[in-house]
Amino acid sequence: MKKEILIGLLVILPSIIAIAIFVYGFIFWTVRVSTSNWNSFSSLLRGEYHFVGLRNYKRLFQDDRFIKDLWNTLFFTLFFLIGSMSIGLLLAVLVDKGLKGSQFFQNIYLFPMAISFVVTGTVWRWIFAPGIIPSDPQGVNLLLKKMGLDHLMWGWYTSTEHIGPFNLALIPVIIAAVWQMSGYTMAMYLAGLRGIPVDIEEAAKVDGASDWQVFWRIKFPLLKPITLSAMIILGHISLKIFDLVFAMTGSGPGFVTDMPSIYMFELTFRSNRYARGSAISIIMLLMVAVVIVPYLVSSMKEEVRR
């Protein structure tokens, strides 16, 4: 028994060391940088460490752009989750019905996932490029014009309109993200649906349950773990989204589509304010941790129970 444990430990030792250095070591290092005064290349080069406490964090929360970023992340995450999961579930149910050609569509829906966010972003940037309204529209606006729906032409992601703190320019970005990830959500739900034993469904039907009741009373509750996993996976993608937004809109006019990750990138690599950038990355880490850690804890408890 003891020998087994020893061998087991030996086998995973390299990964433990690698993770300790490259994950936790670097997280610790980022925390250290975020409490330093390294806000220019020359101070970084000198390498003298001046502890400034939480000053970098304080400055961030006084920064209009960062506050906007936080709101944007909140709304983006919210609508992205709702969109991907409802469309994913709907598609999964449709495909699961086993209608003619469902195999074909199942693949079609999954395809967007195989594309990188950069490609998605670039293509949707073209699609939603507003052109010059009303004389020379492009993309979706051109389509609307051809259909005679001129009044629906809109600035899309170049719009600076907002409802409260929700910037409407985020809508096209959310559409692009949902387009990309709802197929993946469908695949997860589909796996879940197919894992539900047929006899349960049949038993319910024998008892006189309608299709609707079978779905909401039996299948949907059984899909709960899938829903939770989907929320976690999509949630952490959207909290740290960078590539899609960067390729599609950048930070937008007046930062309407800005995200913390973009601000972090610009602070760190474009203006050499390393400490400030590190502070953003730590805040992002905390945001993701808030989502992930409860999930990990609960799933670990479940495993122990088993």
Binding site: T160, P253, G254
Partner: protein, 417 residues
């Protein structure tokens, strides 16, 4: 087995690395990867091979607009003690603040002295590359930032026969273009920097070249009504831009001019190269003029090459720097890249009509450093100002933006009295 292969691969890698360093090589780092830039660089390499056939040139170019990615890679390499033999850097603070002050560069004044070339460059441009009396990099090419390019066909339609000399004249034409259903001024600020590109030229117009240059030496205060006026002019100008500016890049904006949808655009003269690749001939389909108010100034964007301390092939790097400082190399590179040489004694017959105009102005007008292109101020200043101006394009709030500019200047220890 797999592990063994990995070990083997790593071993080979290190071995090759060791060999590489010993080889008679020259590693040149740049962000010239597209269009005429890359061809120009290759022409320089060919010229280098003509003189030094044994030297193997390693082209360490990193792609990405205006070198933003390359700069990050370069910083990592310099920090890690693995500098290339010579690297491209914009003249000015991008070089001085980032690398010279921390002591990572070798002075190259002696190379220019050896070649008797110190007086072949304009003094102002060598000053931009200098720190405490020593020159630290050799300028290869010069672009001008304060230029307006316009569609001649539309100009004829709205009766613009002569380029406007004053701000009001320019606005008058913008107004007429708008009335005819054209976009007055094409702007593509998806990547944000183009808005500051426009604004810095307006600042130059309102301050005048001397006061503008004084900003960076602490002689002129940022707390200056001229800067506020520049914001007001910018606000007026924004009434004539394309509504979808936030969806476009500078190339898209130039295309608006090319496609006959917009009268003009304010852009550095790399736009001239772009219009030429689209098939236009300078002076025939498109015209140009210095942004009104900046006729007596030349906003410089200059690429230079420096000599980092600890360059692995120092001897070859010096040969490279000597080569690019020569008239021959500058005349090989610049006509291809679509820029003008930093030397004043170039062979004008090799350049097109626009570049000859630019060369003339370069030799006679006051040279001023660009903010957004890294010459005037450290990156922390230009990045913060870029954000402020980007917001201004949306809010158009002159007072708030002016206050923000003062704050940014104060943060970077400039004069705000």
């Amino acid at each position: 087995m797999r592990k063994f292969l990995t070990v083997l691969l790593v071993g080979v890698f290190f071995f090759a690395g060791a060999l590489w360093a010993k080889e008679n090589a020259l590693e040149i780092f740049s962000w010239w990867t597209g269009g005429g830039e890359e061809e120009g660089l290759m022409a320089l390499f060919d010229l280098f091979h003509k003189y030094y056939p044994d030297v193997k040139i390693i082209n360490a170019a990193v792609a990405g607009g205006a070198g933003t990615n390359a700069k990050a890679v370069l910083k990592t390499r310099m920090l890690g003690g693995n500098p290339p033999d010579s690297f491209q850097v914009h003249a000015g603070m991008e070089l001085i603040d980032t690398y010279v002050i921390p002591g990572m560069m070798e002075p190259v004044t002696w190379i220019l002295k050896d070649m008797n070339a110190l007086d072949k460059f304009p003094k102002a441009i060598l000053d931009m590359c200098s720190y405490k009396g020593e020159v630290y990099s050799i300028p290869v090419n010069v672009h001008r930032a304060n230029v307006v390019f316009y569609n001649k066909k539309i100009a004829a339609q709205i009766g613009m026969e002569q380029p406007p000399q004053t701000w009001h004249g320019f606005v008058e034409y913008l107004k007429r273009a708008k009335e005819k259903g054209y976009v007055g001024l094409a702007l593509g600020d998806k990547n944000k920097w183009t808005a500051l590109h426009l604004f810095e030229s307006l600042m130059l117009a309102e301050l005048g070249p001397d006061a503008y240059n004084g900003l960076w030496k602490g002689k002129t205060s940022f707390n200056n009504t001229a800067i506020k006026r520049a914001l007001e002019i910018m606000k007026e100008m924004l009434d004539y831009i394309n509504s979808d500016h936030a969806a476009m890049t500078w190339q898209d904006a130039v295309r608006l001019v090319y496609e006959g949808k917009a009268l003009a655009t304010v852009m550095g003269d790399w736009a001239e190269g772009y219009l030429k690749t689209l098939g236009w001939t300078p002076g025939v389909e498109f015209g140009w003029f210095a942004l009104p108010g900046t006729q007596d100034a030349f906003m410089v964007v200059s690429d230079t090459f420096g000599l980092p301390k600890g360059a692995p092939h120092r001897q070859n790097a010096i040969r490279w720097l000597k080569l690019i400082a020569s008239r021959e190399a500058q005349d090989v590179f610049n006509p291809i890249k679509g820029s003008i040489p930093a030397r004043l004694d170039a062979d004008k017959s090799k350049y097109d009509v626009y570049l000859r105009w630019s060369m003339n102005d370069f030799a006679t007008k006051k040279l001023t450093p660009s903010i957004i292109h890294g010459s005037a101020a450290p990156e922390s200043f230009s990045a913060a100002l870029m954000d402020a101006i980007d917001e201004f394009v949306t809010t158009r709030d002159v007072d708030k933006t002016f206050k923000k500019i003062l704050m940014i200047a104060e943060d970077n220890d400039y004069n705000v009295k």
